[in-house]
Amino acid sequence: MSSPLDARRVREDFPILDRTVRGGGRLVYLDSAATTQKPLAVLDAGRDYYLTSNAAVHRGAHQLAEEATEAFEGARARIAAFVGARADDLVFTRNATESLNLMAYAFSNATAKAARGSDLPKGAERFVLREGDEILVTEMEHHANLVPWQEVCAKTGAVLRWIPLTPEGRLDLSDLDRLINERTRVVSFTQQSNLLGTVNPVAPIVDAARAVGALIVLDSCQSVPHMPIDVASLGVDAVAWSGHKMLGPTGIGCLWATSETLASMPPFITGGSMIENVTMESSTYAEPPKRFEAGVPMVAQAVGLAAACDYLDALGMEKVAAHEAALTAHALTRLAEVPGVAVVGPTDLIDRGSAISFTVEGVHPHDVGQVLDSSGIAVRVGHHCAWPGCRAMGVPATTRMSPYIYNDAQDIDECIEALGRVRAVFGAR
């Protein structure tokens, strides 16, 4: 396997990968689609912030508060630049789940307020839903991009529709004309499936959604960490992703949206720092992104995530993508050699990311994962928060390996080798 990245060199920045597991074995971490490990540079950045400038941002007149604000807003600019965005169009959240909820709540809140004639920002009609309006998702969505929209429907009378899957685990766009129609108000879909590895075609869906004036939300949790992304060029209205899946700390997520979209959205979580004026009777709200960041924010986490962007840019996102493509090709080839193993998702390399789900005939994924774990190999088992996608693919659950920048061919090979022992343990035919 040839790759433009030296995974061994990368690994030196991740001390956790030197630890042993289960009584002495080397740790082979292949669960980066769930969460990645953190390089020392990220840990140091967060710690340095606390040791030198920690204070409440946007508020104090003292030097620490100024430095903290600079650190926080500097981090926002850095992270925005990572995806080609303006700093003011980037909202910090707790995780991608909250980012997607923020978009969904714009609809349920605008609808509830409109029904009572309460104040709404200019342009908020776009977020007011009527009975029978449609929200379109796909059958491969992570629960984070499905349940919030079900909730919107339960509160507004809108109807949820979805793009079904082909047997290969790609979007079946044959009915797109009917699925995106005059009633469609939102189209929210994943750029890359965390269950199947499928990379979805953004352009045709965007074109169809634009034609009917629907708002377009992209779940880029599994793409921002893995390939160069320029949010503005995607043609969508909003993009959500998480920090912890791209070497960043836990507890921070991102929502990018166009200025017009953010400006026309009512607030979600309300309180301090997101207001313009407050009286007991009523309040007015600050401009985005502040409007969506109530309370003391996750400052140290933003600083850490900015350091993660530095780290990834130093490697080069093109190289990260090429490295993952090489690992994916290697893994798919090797998996095909193991009797009883079936990949769940695309088996070719076109429009395919590095999250690779599979089943082992006659053995439950939980048991597969446990046998791998006993060899030090950390994979994820279950429905991967994409339960309907599992059902659509006809499996109750899968085992998933998801390599990243610190993995190499040897990691894949050790996983394959351990997989070879699985069926023996359970005496599967």
Partner: protein, 151 residues
């Protein structure tokens, strides 16, 4: 790993006892393990004889990992045909053992094959698998006895 996948467990997994949904029953429940998608449908049939309640039958169907499947089979062996009080005791002993983080080994004398699950206690993620059928049974049993004068 051998402490988890005891031969007894694998035997029950390969040859489950009491599997299948049967009549009659007083209560039926559906339980899932939301993290992995394991599911079980379980029916309980109680009968009172001479003032004593018996667990006449526990019948079940579902899909899941070796641990949850074997646990259902062992549970069937441990409680079907026993008095309700004995069954409740078996539940208590099993639960205590698997939630002990390895501190309670379990007593083969009283627990039978169920002691094979002692090793599960060291794998917190699997404790829920082992408990899935037992919790389903507990739930069904409560539903079946609801409105009874027992407490």
């Amino acid at each position: 790993m051998e402490d988890l996948y005891q031969e007894i467990i694998l035997d029950h997994y390969r040859n489950p006892q009491g599997r299948g949904l049967r009549e009659p029953f007083e209560a039926q429940v559906h339980h899932v393990n939301p993290t992995c998608g394991d599911e079980i449908d379980l029916r309980v049939h109680l009968e009172e004889r001479d003032g004593t309640t018996y667990v006449e039958d526990v019948s079940y169907a579902g899909q899941g990992c070796s641990i949850s499947q074997a646990s259902a089979s062992v549970m069937y062996d441990s409680i079907a045909g026993r008095t309700l009080d004995e069954a409740l005791e078996a539940l208590a002993r099993f639960q205590e053992m698997v939630q002990s983080k390895g501190e309670i080994a379990g007593d083969e004398e009283t627990m039978g094959d169920a002691v094979a699950f002692a090793g599960v206690a060291k794998y917190p993620a699997r404790v829920k698998c082992a408990l899935l059928p037992w919790m389903a049974w507990k739930d069904a049993m409560v539903q079946a006895t609801e409105g009874d004068d027992r407490d």
